[in-house]
Amino acid sequence: MSVLAVQDLRVGFRDGTLAVRGISLDLGHGETLGLVGESGCGKSVTSLAVMGLLARGAARTAAGIRLAGEDIARASERRMAQLRGDRIAMIFQEPMTSLNPAYTVGDQLSEVYRRHRGAGRLQARDRAADLLARVGIANPGLRLAQYPHELSGGLRQRVMIAMALMCEPDVLIADEPTTALDVTVQAQILRLLQDLQKETGLAILLITHDLGVVARMADRVSVMYAGEIVESGTAEALFGRPMHPYTRGLLDSIPVPGKLRPGDQLKAIPGTVPRITAAFRGCGFRDRCGLADRGCEDTIMPREEGPQHRYLCRLSSELQGQAS
Amino acid sequence: MSGRLTPSAKAALVIGGSVLGATVLLALLAPWIAPHDPFLQNLDQRLAPPFWAEGSLSGHPLGTDQLGRDYLSRLLYGARISLLIGAVTVILSGMIGVGLGMAGGYAGGWLDDAVMIVVTCRLSIPLILVALTVVALTGTSLVVVMLTLGLLLWERFAVVARTTTMQVRHREFIEAARLCGASLPHILLREVLPNILPHLVVVMTLELAIAILLEAALSFLGLGVPPPLPSWGLMIAEARDQMFFMPWVITIPGVALFTLVLAINILGDGLRDLVAGGHAR
C-alpha cells in the first residue's frame, strides 16, 4: 500500500512558467523513490508542493495528494503544519539553513517532539539523545548541548536526519541530502538512511541530480525533465535499459570508471532546458535531442517497456536499435 | 531590472527624479528666466506680497523682500547656490570617502584599521562648531562653505564603500583579474567600482540632501553664504523679522527647500529599491 500518492500535480509561477506539468508519484512503505533531474527540471518544486511549502506566487493544482490515506491536496495550512515534521519530514542540501543557529541541537530536537507529541521536557531530551545515537553520533550527550556551528557538515546532516525522524514519520523527503558533503561522508550518510529505513519502514522520496546516488539508493526511479517525468521504472530497468533519449544522454554524459578509455570524449547533451509556458506542446527535450523530428511537436503519449517501466518518447525504439 | 520594481519604487523614481530634474533645469536657466536681477534693490517696492495676496505688484509674481529685491529671481538664483554647494560637496566628500573606503575595504589589515579610526574621529567632530571656527578664522564665503562641508561629510561614503568593497573583494572575478595581470588601479576602478557604484549612488542622493540642508542651516546662522548672495537659508534668516506679518517671505524659501530635499530623498528611496532589485536577480 502506498503511503504517499501524488496524482497529476501541476505547479505554475506568476510569470507564466510551468515548473511541474502533471506528474504522478507513488511511494510505498519502506520504499525509496528516486527523483532525478538537472537544475530547473522541477524536482525541488515538486517536493515543496507536496509539503505545501511553495512560495507565494506559485500556484498548485493536483488531482490528489494522499499521505497515509488522507487527502492533503486540500488540507488547511493548520492541518499541514501538524503533519509536517510528524507524518512527513524533510531534509535539505544545506543543513545549516534549516537549523537555527541560536539554539542548541538538543533544544531544536526536543522542540519538534514537544510540539507534535506534547511530551515533557525530560522525555523529549531522552528521545533526542536516543535518536542522535541512532543516527550514529558517538557522544549524544555532548552534541545535545552544542550549537549547529560547532558541528561539521556531516554531523549537521546527521542531526537533521535525527530531527526528521523524531516523530517517526511515514515519509521522508530528502532533497539533495548529500550534495554539500564530501564523498566519504556522503556514503556514510546514505548508508545510515538505508539502515534506518530497514529498521523503521520509512518511505523515502530521494531528490538528487546525482545518478550514482540514485542508482545505489532507489528501488524505483523517476527522471524529470522540464516539469515532466520523462521516464520511470525500477532502478534495474531504468539504468539497465534506459528508453528516453534524455535518460540515455544523462547516463552517457558522466564519466564512469572503466567505461571510457583515457582521452575518449564524453557524450554531452547540447543546448539548455527550455522555458515552458502553457502554450507549449509536445516533447520538452526535442530541441536537444538527436532523434527529434516534426512529430515531436505533438503531444507525446506514454509508452511501456515492461512492467512499471514507462517513458515519454515516440522514437526511442529506433534509439535502442541504433545503440545495439 | 525595471520589470521587477514595485509600483511604489517606480513612482518614487519618477516623482523624485522629475522634481530634482526640474529644479536643476530652473537653476541652470535662471539667468534667462528670472524676471529681474536678484541683487537689484528697489526700496520703493519693499515687501510686496505674492500674486495670490492683495496688493501684489505686476512683474513680481512672488513679491519682493525687505530690500525690494524680486523674490522669484532670488529663489531661482538660490536654487543655483543650493545645488552648486550640494554637488561640489558630494563630489569632494565622495572622492575622499570612496577613496578611503575602497582602500580600507580592498587592502584590509592595518590600512583598514586606520581608515576605521579616521572615520570614528570624523564622527566625533561637531560640524557646526567646526564651521563656526572656520568662519571665525577666514570669514564667510561660498568656497569656505563648500570646503567645510566637502571635507566633513564623507563618512557615509567611506563606510558604504568599505563594506561593499569587502563584499566584492572576495568574488572570484577579482582574483581572475589579478591573474590576468591587471594593475591595482585597474582592479579598483574597472572591477570593483562598477560593482559598488549602485550603492554609492544611493549614498550620493542622501548626502546631496544633507549638504543642501546644512548649507541652509549654516547660512541661517550666518556661518554660511555671505549676503547679498541669494541662498535659501539666508532668505529664511533675513525673513525672520517679517514672518509674523508677512508669512510668505519665510514660507516660500522654506517650501522650496522642503520640496527639493524631499524629492531627493524620495529619489534615493527609489534608487535603493532599484539596487536591491538588481541584486536579487
Binding site: P255, V256, T272 | E172
Partner: protein, 340 residues
C-alpha cells in the same frame, strides 16, 4: 614571450610548499595558526594533467592559489616552466599560468561585456593594439565553441556552461602553457559538465596545455588526469599515474575515497566506509600521521611519528603500512614520480 618557457624542465615544479593562515588575533582573542598546505612537493611535466583530489579542508584550493601566485607561500617555492613565480611580475605571470575558477557566476564581472572580460589579459599586457585584441578575442571565443557575437553580451545573459566557456577563453587568450582548473565543473549540471570536460580535453591536445585539475569528483579526475595526487590535511599522502592509483591504491585514505565513489550501478548498494564520524580540521592537525584518528588500520605507532615517504616506480605514499619495496632517500626520486 617564448623566452619565458623552459621546454626541457618540468612545467610546474613545487618544492616544500607551506602556507599558514592566522585566524583571530584581535585585542582579546589569541592567534590560531591554520596550516592549510604543509610541505608539498611535486613536478608536472609539459602536456600532463595532474589531478588533485581531496575533501574539504584538504588544502587543495589553497594549493591551487599558491601555484597560480594568488597567494604567497609561507615557505617553499613554485617554479613555472623553470621560472620562479615569486620573481615574475604580474604581466609575466599572466603569460605563464592562468586559472579557471569553480563558479562561473562569480568569476566573471557582471558589469562588463564578454569581449572586455576576455580581452582583459591582453589589455593588462599594455602593448597589444586594439585591433589585434579584438581579433584575438573573436578567435578565442570561436575556439571555445562560442559564437563571437556573444562578445557583446553580459555574463548575466548567458547560461552556466556558456559562462565557463568565457572563463576558459579568458584563461587561454595569452596562450599560457599551464592552466589550473579549480573544480571547473562542480557548479554545473552533469550534461554541461561533459561539454566543459570535452572542451578542456580538446584544448589540451590542440594547444599542448599542461593542466592542474583540482576536483572532489574522483570519476571526473580519473577521466581527465594523467597523474593523480591525493591530499589530506595539507599534505599529499599518495601520488601516482592515474591508472596505477585507481587500480592499486596504497594509502588507506585513498582506498576509502575510491570506495566512496558511487557509480550508477543499481544493486551494488552503499559501501560501508570505515572512517568514523571524525572530520579533518586544519586548525587542529593530529600529531603523527594526520590521518590516524580516522584510519581503520592505524597502529599505535601512527600517533607518534610522521609516516615515512615510500616511493616505488613513480608511486609515492606516506603511510607506515605501505609495502617497503623501494628506497626512501632522495626527494629527487619523489619528484620523478610525477615527472617524466
Amino acid at each position: 614571450m617564448t623566452a619565458l618557457i623552459d621546454e626541457a624542465g618540468p612545467a610546474v615544479s613545487v618544492r616544500g610548499l607551506r602556507r599558514d593562515f592566522v585566524r583571530g588575533g584581535g585585542l582579546l582573542s589569541t592567534h590560531a595558526t591554520v596550516r592549510a598546505v604543509d610541505g608539498v612537493s611535486f613536478d608536472v611535466s609539459h602536456g600532463e594533467v595532474l589531478g588533485i583530489v581531496g575533501e574539504s579542508g584538504s588544502g587543495k584550493s589553497t594549493l591551487a592559489r599558491l601555484i597560480t601566485g594568488l597567494l604567497r607561500p609561507t615557505a617553499g617555492d613554485v617554479r613555472i616552466a623553470g621560472r620562479s613565480l615569486a620573481e615574475a611580475d604580474r604581466r609575466q605571470r599572466a603569460r605563464l599560468i592562468q586559472q579557471v575558477f569553480q563558479d562561473p557566476y562569480s568569476s566573471l564581472n557582471p558589469t562588463q561585456r564578454v569581449r572586455d572580460i576576455v580581452a582583459l589579459p591582453l589589455v593588462a599586457q599594455g602593448d597589444v593594439p586594439r585591433e589585434e585584441r579584438a581579433r584575438r578575442v573573436s578567435e578565442m571565443l570561436a575556439l571555445v565553441g562560442l559564437d563571437p557575437a556573444v562578445g557583446e553580451r553580459y555574463p548575466g545573459q548567458m547560461s552556466g556552461g556558456q559562462r565557463q566557456r568565457v572563463a576558459i577563453a579568458r584563461a587561454l587568450v595569452l596562450k599560457p602553457r599551464i592552466v589550473v582548473c579549480d573544480e571547473p565543473t562542480s557548479a554545473l549540471d552533469v550534461s554541461v559538465q561533459a561539454q566543459i570536460l570535452n572542451l578542456l580535453q580538446a584544448l589540451r591536445r590542440e594547444l599542448n596545455l599542461t593542466l592542474v585539475f583540482i576536483s572532489h569528483n574522483l570519476a571526473v579526475v580519473e577521466h581527465i588526469a594523467t597523474h593523480v595526487a591525493v591530499m589530506y590535511l595539507g599534505r599529499i599522502v599518495e601520488a601516482a599515474p592515474t591508472a596505477e592509483l585507481f587500480g592499486s591504491p596504497r594509502h588507506p585514505y585513498t582506498a576509502a575515497l575510491l570506495q566512496s565513489v558511487l557509480t550508477p550501478e543499481p544493486g551494488k548498494g552503499i559501501p560501508r566506509i570505515p572512517l568514523g564520524e571524525g572530520f579533518p580540521d586544519p586548525a587542529a592537525i593530529p600529531p603523527g600521521c594526520r590521518f590516524h584518528p580516522r584510519c581503520p588500520s592505524a597502529l599505535p605507532a601512527c600517533a607518534d611519528a610522521s609516516p615515512p615517504l615510500r616511493v616505488d616506480a613513480g608511486h609515492l605514499v606516506e603511510c607506515i603500512l605501505a609495502p617497503e619495496t623501494a628506497s626512501r632517500e632522495a626527494t629527487s626520486q619523489v619528484h620523478a614520480g610525477l615527472g617524466p
